[in-house]
């Protein structure tokens, strides 16, 4: 039985995990290598690093962080935010990422997805889509949710899959950071349309929201960030609640041989 996944996302800037509101008022919350390992110990099924560095100089720093993380992390690591061209994919994977996620760059150049899938396999290409309901469509935005496109998220997700993406990371711009639940209509529409796993993102506030993402939104995985970093809950507590409600999440790894 395939288990619904709980994925922890960390924003990384210049080699440090940062936290803020809409990329403003960023403050340092720790070392990505240590935090990733800590979340694995708590039961995170996967880790996502979202690189929010602005400078090109940060590239080398990101690769170094990925390399050091991969040496101590034994659950999958996805890296997004740092992929601007097909040439960026190989170095990230070689540094230790298991998957890369592409967003703005794929909208600009959809071939990025097919090149990545051909060279490295669909399983390592995650199409990241940021969407908001507008004018009767789920309008896709790029550049951290700041630039509107003419793309509809459901159609774009299907196109990404056709190009070779092995997973869709779907973020509701309206719900992101609001902590009152994932955008379930968006999640379900995309999940019911594309034949690849969909990761619900944006809006996690309580364990009920994750349950709804799986049960109502038909998501394969749920992304969680702020409520963990703020210490409002833990991966273990979220998974315990999900288990109590009959969702077959992977048990937290107590008593393993690490």
């Amino acid at each position: 039985m395939l288990r619904p996944r709980v994925i922890v996302c960390l924003d990384v800037k210049d080699g440090r995990v940062v936290k803020g509101t809409q990329f403003k008022n960023l403050r340092d919350v720790g070392d990505p290598v240590e935090l990733a390992a800590q979340y694995e110990a708590e039961g995170a099924d996967e880790i996502v690093f979202l690189d929010v560095s602005a400078s090109k100089e940060a590239r080398g720093t990101l690769l170094d962080v990925v390399r050091r993380t991969a040496e101590t992390l034994f659950v999958p690591l996805t890296v997004g935010g740092g992929v601007r061209s097909a040439e960026d994919i190989g170095p990230l994977l070689r540094a230790g990422a298991d998957k890369i996620s592409v967003n703005s760059a794929a909208v600009r150049d959809p071939e990025l997805i097919s090149i990545g899938a051909d060279r490295f396999g669909s399983q390592c290409v995650v199409a990241s889509i940021d969407a908001a309901k507008e004018d009767g469509l789920w309008r896709c935005y790029t550049h951290g949710g700041t630039q509107p496109t003419e793309l509809d998220a459901v159609e774009w997700a299907a196109e990404c899959q056709a190009l070779g993406a092995g997973e869709i990371l779907l973020t509701s711009i309206d719900q992101d950071g609001a902590r009152n639940g994932y955008q379930l209509d968006l999640t379900r529409e995309v999940a019911d349309t594309v034949p690849v796993p969909v990761i619900a993102s944006g809006g996690a506030g309580r364990a009920e929201h994750l349950r709804d993402a799986f049960v109502v939104g038909h998501a394969s995985a749920a992304l969680v960030a702020g409520i963990l970093h703020d210490g409002l809950t833990t991966v273990g507590a979220l998974k315990q609640s999900l288990t109590d409600w009959g969702l077959p999440v992977r048990p937290t790894p107590l008593g393993t041989n690490t």
């Binding site: 288990r3 694995e40 099924d45 034994f74 399983q123 690849v196 690490t258």
Partner: protein, 201 residues
Amino acid sequence: MRIALYDYGAGNLHSLGKALEGAGADVVVTADWSEALGMQALVLPGVGAFGAAARALPDDRSGLRQALADGLPCLGICLGMQLFFETSEESQGDGIGLVPGTVDLLDAPIVPQMGWNDVEVGNDPIFEGVDSLVAYYANSYVCVPDDSAEEIAWSEYDGRRFAAGVRRANTWGLQFHPEKSSGPGRRIVANFVTVAQELVR
């Protein structure tokens, strides 16, 4: 012991390398087949696409196939396991042809199979100390050995039971990623190192 970790030139080798080193192995990452076959054991990692990886195999597969048949301990993971077979539906590239059987596309509403799935483990030393296993998968294809006696572990996806592991003499294949399956996965990697050490002693 010195273990060759073969590098097809694509993908993450760090976690697997560290898991092997954590079990006491001296890991040599190499893309040179003569060097790889000169080590005491060989690991074929599970990254990349079948065609690209098959192209990285030596043009003449016979030396590699013979080394494995002669007992070089080998662990193939995901794609690395699929390479033990002759061909894959994924690509026309030829595999090693060590294990008779086929590599079939998963026929399910959602492909690839991405995530953690239960694994029923058989009685094999590579699963020593691993009682219940939920392991990480990222695969679109599954291996179907002609001889089901070569299957050593099983999972089910969308109602289809498939081989999570195969073994032929000193060659082990795992469809899931032990190096991405947290503590129990690391134990399996360590078990391979232990078993390989005993075999070459």
